[in-house]
């Protein structure tokens, strides 16, 4: 299923100034177009964005809870890692071997990071 996302501009990373010694200052602005301005494709069962890693996430992350709690979040990689560790220490999640753990964290941090390209609450 293909869906478009409306009403959201690309999240912009704060301008990063790079001083070059040869008397010129070059300002580089990084803008991540990500999925926000293009068309994203979503898994019709879970609602997860279809991108590298989503099958691994599906295999490991929705045995106890549904994917809907995942797609509401906006956490950086460290925060996602802590969350996975907390679930392993306290919530009964099994050990996740490499390279799958890295694939899961990469996927979550990319698509469900603080810029929240796939989420907006219902309020004005």
């Amino acid at each position: 299923m293909r869906r478009r996302f409306f009403g959201r501009t690309a999240p912009v990373v704060p301008a990063m100034a790079v001083a070059v010694v040869v008397a010129v200052t070059v300002v580089v602005e990084l803008a991540f177009a990500a999925d926000a301005t293009t068309t994203s494709e979503y898994d019709s069962t879970t609602g997860l964005v279809i991108a590298p890693g989503y099958k691994v996430v599906t295999a490991h992350c929705i045995a106890c809870h549904s994917a809907r709690i995942i797609i509401q979040q906006g956490m950086d990689r460290d925060h996602w890692r802590e969350t996975v560790e907390w679930m392993q220490e306290e919530q009964g999640l099994w050990p996740i071997p490499e390279p799958m753990l890295t694939q899961i964290l990469d996927y979550l941090a990319t698509h469900y990071g603080p810029a929240r390209p796939h989420f907006s609450p219902s309020q004005p």
Partner: protein, 450 residues
Amino acid sequence: MKKRSENFPRPEWERGLHEMYAQDGERADALVFGRRTNAVSRRGFLRGAGLAAMSGALGGAAIVFADKMPAGLIPAALADESGEFSLAAYGKRGLLVLNDRPINAETPPHLLDDDVTPSEYMFVRNNGIPPARGAIDASAWTLEVGGESCEQPRTFSIADLRRDFASHSLQLQIECGGNGRAEYNPPAKGNQWTTGAVSCAQWTGVRLADVLRACGIKADAVYTAYYGADSHLSGDPGKTAISRGVPIAKALEEESLIAWGVNGEEINWLNGYPLRLITAGWPGSTSGKWLRRIDIRDRVHDGTKMTGTAYRVPRHPVAAGTKVPNEEMEIIASMPVKSLITAPQTGGNHPAGSPLAVRGHAWAGDLAVSAVDISIDFGATWHKAALTNPANRLAWQHFRAQVRFPRAGYYEVWARATDTQGRAQPMVVPGWNPKGYLNNRCHRVGVFAA
């Protein structure tokens, strides 16, 4: 504006009904509707079990030939609504489902317009999996009271509670500690509640104080602890989904109830049927559902979701995104002052120059609300709304105002409540905290004047 439904493709929850019936129709009957059928004919509704629930899901229509209806048959009227099923079969209407496992759903502001919140519009907040609806027998339900600081542990049936103690009916507001979390930045972990994890219904039960005193409260008592019949998401019977409590002083307040009824009916299954605690004005998580046990503790309760970051906020204000060590966090007590505009509904049209009625509710945790002010110019000027007294302590107060938009254009109606200690709602999101609790920013609704 992007609609939530565009964000959330048809979820597992909405397909769940069909899958449950496909796997085991009779089990689905029991789980979804509490239905039991005649063991021999496998038809009908044994002693009426589940008939009311299934009729309710069909919009109150009578199932005329109910005695002929085979077990495990999903009503066709529901089967046809495959995409829209959501929480209708559970006696809920119009809620936005944030999560389906565990079930968490909030109420759009305009559906909270009633002075007393109907059960069908009451939000649903689960940490675990509720006990199967069909497996709950209210007549056999027991409540144990014990703990280190209980002199005489006892067990009560619901009939015992009704017989041994005076019943009380009170309008009591319950708000989830995380209501408004969606607005924090960086985003805070958890369900992204906007404004609708709040309700004020008329609860009926006995005073928690009466029951605890009947069991004897030792002088060293500090805190209560509740345990419910909900199970942990992992299915591990050794784990507890949630077990919280309140200081003894809060437990002994006249408004703290052990309730079996709401609005003159039994409690909705998703809201704790057949028995729950109500400790109004504190985070909803202190009001335990499917209540099986209360302990009187000689220390601050250390159960699941009492420690770490759960329902706790930094002792001192922190900058957004700060990592806060657990020992710098403290348990949330009373919720802060807040209000909700329930009319007009956001995004509507209204003729310029003609009066528009604005109304809603205000509450202030353990306190009362002393004033509600309304602005239609983004907070530049404010005008007092008429405000009712609460029906009883810890009940919603209702406000009304009339506004007029001077000319065509886009306006926002803002509401700002002030509590009896002079603290008002902030116009911007208040202090960031790691789990995004206590957002009491002014509610605002958009109106197009034509």
